[in-house]
């Protein structure tokens, strides 16, 4: 039946809002609401045998015939493996403290993006399958039977969670939606549903060592390009060692820093810092990826990718590992790495990290043997080992975005701030309920930084953008620093859209711009090649 023009326009009936309960609300698979499915070959190559061709906006998702059984058995297995999952399925009282804490809900308003309801998508199935009360009382107890539409709903909403854990901070029982999202995504992968933006980096990282699939010789060439630029801007030639055994430190950073603008300037920053202090280090092409999209796929994949770090440190005989600026990489290192792969350390030269320049022993990394670059640099600055001219950053009015994972999965809050305040003179904090442990996500973490869902990302980035706009208006902030490679990519559109005029930088780009090298020429441009005002 044809729609009359006024019917088309009068789609909003404000007197009679839809009254469907959430279980009855249908899924909306309009374009822009879902990331593209993973290529089946890549998915299969990573060991998922039900990988198949499918499209989210088609009715038939070509699920394996026994998909219900796979989900149900996988659900059971994970309940037995993770106490977190089991407890979180049982103890929620639906108090609503988390409801308005999710950036996707704040920016978009879809009720299923309230953390409690997102978890309830899974809990409802849990009750029907695994609890007595749910089996007897059914919907009265909030239980529902697993159906294809429920599975589709999982795909829709567990790929609208960035595993940022902000809700978990406010939950009186510490229920962590990230944990639930991880389980849901694992189950979805089991029945062949994954997204390409995650699966392709996983596949590439496994084979070539980095997300973009850059081969070793090309990686070397790209590092040399950066050294060319550094020489042009500072007059000092740096030749960073690659894959060389026998150095004290192995340095690993997300590959985004090596390939993507503006991460490359942060990478140049690392190189300049190491040159300035004469650090005995090497880079590796085999372990050229700090990031770990396995965290967004499943525990096994995460472990497989992460294992490269210790393996390479062992092979090269490094004494400890220095890690670059990356968000989720540090969640993995802080909360998973040693537990999963610590056994690989056996027989290696790895020991408790000690800063060779200051003599500081990093007791907090006694077990992982891995130090965060801002911990390292903060220590250098504290001991006065860096010759800094922060006035070279005087044109910057800087604020700092805490990345979710280092904030709520580690507690790395003061180190980057200390570094920033020492390398630039104008620093301003965003409002307190948007920073530190209460920080808002960039809107595209956990593998959601793909361009086909730009609208979702931007509305998820609204709370961050809004706080940024506030300091832009109030303090003329023109630069937001962060310690995450994903942020350096995803905050650019967020800032561009919500607070145009604010640029994004890594902390070590600013460090290097302030840092004086021995034998340098007059520093007339910054690492982006932009001319500096006479200071």
């Amino acid at each position: 039946m044809a729609l009359k023009p006024e019917e088309l326009l009068a789609t909003i009936d404000y007197l009679n809002p839809p009254k469907t309960g959430w279980m009855e609300t249908p899924n909306d698979f309009s374009p822009g609401r879902w990331p593209y499915p993973a290529k089946p070959d890549l998915h299969r190559a990573m060991g998922f045998k039900h990988a198949h061709e499918w499209k989210a906006d088609e009715k038939d998702w070509h699920l394996p015939e026994n998909w219900k059984q796979i989900i149900s058995e996988g659900f059971k297995a994970r309940l037995d493996k993770y106490r977190s999952f089991k407890v979180f399925m049982d103890v929620c009282v639906r108090c609503g403290a988390c409801a308005d804490k999710c950036h996707f809900y704040i920016g978009g308003g879809d009720p299923k993006n309230m953390p409690v309801l997102r978890a309830e998508l899974m809990r409802s199935v849990y009750r029907a399958d695994f609890t007595t009360a749910g089996k007897i009382l059914g919907k009265l107890n909030g239980a529902r039977v697993m159906e294809e539409d429920v599975l589709k709903e999982w795909f829709l909403y567990f790929y609208q969670c960035t595993e940022c854990r902000r809700c978990s901070l406010f939950c009186p029982y510490g229920i962590d939606t990230a944990e639930i999202t991880m389980m849901a995504r694992e189950l979805l992968h089991e029945v062949g549903l994954g997204i390409n933006w995650i699966m392709e980096p996983v596949f590439n990282c496994n084979r070539t060592g980095n997300h973009l699939g850059i081969q070793p010789h090309a990686f070397k060439e790209i590092v040399e390009f950066m050294c060319d630029d550094i020489e042009e801007y500072t007059g000092v030639r740096i030749n960073p060692p690659l894959n060389e055994p026998g150095h004290e430190v192995l340095f690993i950073t997300p590959s985004g820093d090596a390939f993507a603008d503006p991460g490359i300037y942060t990478f140049m920053g690392y190189l300049i810092l190491f040159e300035a202090i004469g650090l005995d280090y090497t880079l590796s092409t085999y372990a050229s990826e700090g990031g770990n999209f396995g965290l967004f796929t499943g525990a096994d994949t995460m472990q497989k990718l992460n294992a490269k770090m210790y393996s390479e440190a062992k092979r090269l005989g490094a004494k400890w590992i220095l890690g670059g600026e990356c968000g989720h990489m540090w969640r993995v290192i802080n909360q998973y790495m040693d537990t999963m792969n610590g056994y690989i350390q056996e027989g290696s030269n790895l020991t408790t990290p000690r800063n060779p320049i200051t003599g500081t022993v990093f007791h907090n990394a006694k077990q992982t043997k891995m130090v965060h670059i801002t911990e390292f640099t903060a220590d250098l600055i504290k001991h006065g080992k860096l010759d800094l001219s922060p006035e070279r950053n005087n044109h910057l009015r800087v604020t700092y975005h805490d990345s979710c994972n280092p904030a709520r999965g580690m507690g790395l809050l003061e180190e980057p701030r200390y570094v920033i305040k020492n390398v630039c003179n104008n620093y301003f904090e965003m409002p307190p309920q948007t920073t530190r442990e209460q920080t808002f996500c960039c809107g595209a973490g956990s593998g959601l930084n793909t361009e086909e869902i730009m609208e979702i990302r931007l509305r998820g980035g609204l709370p961050r953008g809004n706080a940024l706009k506030y300091v832009q208006d109030k303090h003329d902030v023109n630069m937001m620093a962060c310690i995450c490679a994903l942020d350096r990519a995803t905050l650019i559109p967020v800032a561009d859209f919500w607070a145009p005029g604010v640029q994004i930088t890594g902390v070590h780009e600013m460090v290097a711009n302030a840092l004086n090298l021995k034998g340098q020429k007059k520093r007339e441009v910054n690492l982006r090649g932009e001319e500096l005002e006479e200071v």
Binding site: Y82, L117, Y418
Partner: protein, 339 residues
């Protein structure tokens, strides 16, 4: 609609008790069999549920860190929001369990104006939910302890003191317990926000309302007995002590309203282990709160750690050896060796 289901079931239960004891002549069932069964279900069910949780291992240390980590000596760290040892973790748990610290974090900001008209941001804590939760839980606890005077003879001094302190205002006869009022106030707010806040109403299911109405029912029936019906407390104590001694005697003087109260309590006890009320036990087992943030410092053992090997360096070099040699990257096996 969900709220209505909850209310309906609780009313039906109360009515069942009234009818059963009043006209149905099933006093034995309601006074003896059901209470014993309910306590047994509660104890066994609670223990089984906790054991069921405990059976699943904690593969990773995943505390949600709520403050600065312990790293360099000169950076002060948030000892209780980001603990690295068991002692501080225990403190964190105590703060969580006894003061509902995470709920207390709720903040909201309001854009105000300075006297000269410039906008200024002010922060207010959104503490209503926290306050209601605190009132409700602590009143409940005190009421439960106070009720122990029915199950002990002689009544231990601390319980007598509590009884005295709780009725310290000395108003109304029999004297009014403050906890009764606070309890109802807390409950009332918890129910009201479920009904009034649209987003909370949206996420509430029948079970949420059922638990609230059930506890309200218990509270109201108790208050009715004490202040309106003024039931014969001596015979009730006689009865409860007989239950404790496992030689149940049901005095005839006991009013039916008592059995409504008792039956609803039994329903609560029996329902408890199968419901969200188990958050009482679960909060102690939550891995985002009860673990120190120390897996960079100490090894944490995952009992099912699968030891998955990475794509090996050797395989990587095999894949790219030619290009690596050409680019001057060091290789372990030279090209000719391969051939």
């Amino acid at each position: 609609m969900n709220a209505f289901y909850g209310l309906f079931i609780v009313c039906a239960l109360a009515l069942a008790a009234l009818v059963g004891v009043g006209g149905g002549g099933m006093t034995g069932l309601f006074a003896v069999a059901i209470p014993y069964a309910a306590v047994a279900i509660f104890v066994v069910g609670f223990a089984l549920k906790v054991m069921c949780w405990a059976k699943s291992p904690v593969p990773f240390r995943i505390p949600t860190t709520g403050g600065q980590q312990k790293s360099l000596d000169w950076i002060p760290y948030a000892r209780y929001d980001n603990p690295v040892n068991s002692r501080d973790t225990v403190v964190r748990m105590i703060l969580e369990v006894l003061t509902f610290r995470s709920l207390f974090r709720n903040t909201t900001a309001v854009l105000g104006k300075t006297p000269d008209g410039k906008p200024q941001v002010g922060y207010f804590s959104e503490k209503w939910l926290w306050l209601a939760a605190i009132l409700f839980h602590y009143s409940f606890l005190l009421i439960v302890i106070r009720h122990m005077r029915f199950f002990t003879e002689p009544v231990p001094l601390p319980i007598q003191w509590l009884d005295w302190a709780d009725s310290i205002l000395q108003i109304y006869s029999p004297t009014l317990y403050q906890t009764n009022l606070l309890f109802l106030a807390g409950l009332g707010w918890l129910l009201a926000r479920r009904l009034l806040y649209p987003q909370i109403r949206y996420i509430s299911n029948a079970a949420d309302y059922f638990a609230l109405f059930l506890i309200i029912g218990i509270a109201l029936s108790g208050i009715y007995m004490r202040y309106v019906a003024k039931v014969d407390i001596v015979s009730i104590k006689q009865f409860t002590m007989s239950l404790v001694m496992f030689s149940p005697v049901v005095p005839k003087e006991i009013a039916p309203s008592f059995f409504v109260h008792l039956f609803l309590v039994c329903v609560l006890l029996a329902y408890f282990p199968f419901s969200k009320l188990m958050h009482l036990g679960g909060v102690f087992l939550s891995p985002t709160r009860n673990l120190p943030n120390d897996s960079r410092i100490h090894h944490h053992e995952n009992p099912w750690n699968p030891k998955i090997k990475p794509h090996s360096y050797e395989a990587y070099e095999d894949d790219f050896r030619e290009a690596m040699v050409e680019a001057g990257l060091p290789v372990v096996k030279q090209l000719e060796e391969e051939a």
